[in-house]
Symmetry: C3
Subunit: 157 residues, 3 copies
Amino acid sequence: MAEAPTATELRELLESRKIERVLFDYAHNLDINQPEEMTKLFTDDCVVTYAPNFGAEGKDAYRETLNGIGTYFSATTHHVSNVVIDFIDENTAQVRSVLMAIHRYTRERPDGWMFGQYHDTMVKGDNGQWQFKRRELRTTMGMDYHVKTSHPLGRAE
Amino acid sequence: MAEAPTATELRELLESRKIERVLFDYAHNLDINQPEEMTKLFTDDCVVTYAPNFGAEGKDAYRETLNGIGTYFSATTHHVSNVVIDFIDENTAQVRSVLMAIHRYTRERPDGWMFGQYHDTMVKGDNGQWQFKRRELRTTMGMDYHVKTSHPLGRAE
Amino acid sequence: MAEAPTATELRELLESRKIERVLFDYAHNLDINQPEEMTKLFTDDCVVTYAPNFGAEGKDAYRETLNGIGTYFSATTHHVSNVVIDFIDENTAQVRSVLMAIHRYTRERPDGWMFGQYHDTMVKGDNGQWQFKRRELRTTMGMDYHVKTSHPLGRAE
């Protein structure tokens, strides 16, 4: 007969699904161009770094980096998979996921493809809602992508 | 010490995994060209809409829309991720997922790429099996895709 | 009120997440070129078959097939989704997942795209860790991919 999981194991299962949802809601709100909904997913003191010199410290600064989603892109699609979650404590988790993002530009130019990984630190607030405290994007490879700098994936030579 | 999840929370976790499986079995049976297995995943009174004027009402009509999978495509691959599930009640769930689908045609023409979202209403039958009661496909973007109409994603201007 | 899941159902939920993690750690260690970390995910008597005449029997032979990841590719990205898990018994599971893998070569040639499915037999060791006992890759389609043979997906004609 199967050994029953512990309360901690079950709690982490439940919280893992909630954490995944934040990742997917981020992608969704980005793809439907709802930057204000995106910022709600971040803590006030969040640190976001998409590439060297491309990111923000604090929710207000982050909000500004989202300006232009509506004018720069005519469509984007963010596919997030391979989600791995490690709980540091009950209210903190380290999350790794794999991203394929395709960007269709309003300007006449080829679609920009981007493949990479998100490395996130998520924290759970008093209201039970998980938020991004830190979001770092590492780049595996790209094609015709408009951002020319990147954080490396850390692939061994 | 972690608070133990409630019976309802655990039940929804369990049902979420079953619901995801229906989404993945749909993709699988489509990619291996088993339309009869696909129809089993739908309720008798299902509503399916892939695009304006491309869909079906009722399982029998839906079965007919699946004619041609074997002759029109030599291969397809459906990648479903970013699955988000909201339970309306114990036996009804609203599901959003992100799709990348690539179609290789039997006719000589470039592969058709399609990026979008499924918006599904799933219901649980007396046998405990979840089925699609409504499946709507919204299109984010495409490349060389043979279906020229689409439901919009609802991206803000 | 929701019926509480059984201990077996909860145990399988928990183990499913652990199994998924092995799939994702495989992809991760492949993409960051850590072959030794990959081999740890396989049993000593593992059988791996990526294509006819491309695979290995036993962990030592498998390790050799991983030679060249660092020299043949400058980058790879493995996107694993649509994970479906069937438990054969408490310590054995049959797993199906969908793969998109893109390979950037060190030689001057176009990126190689590969779409397929993994069919895995996973076993749980005495230490509670799941490992691949058998990993089979079936190919749906490819573009400019360097491996020219493949196991078929089993698509009906």
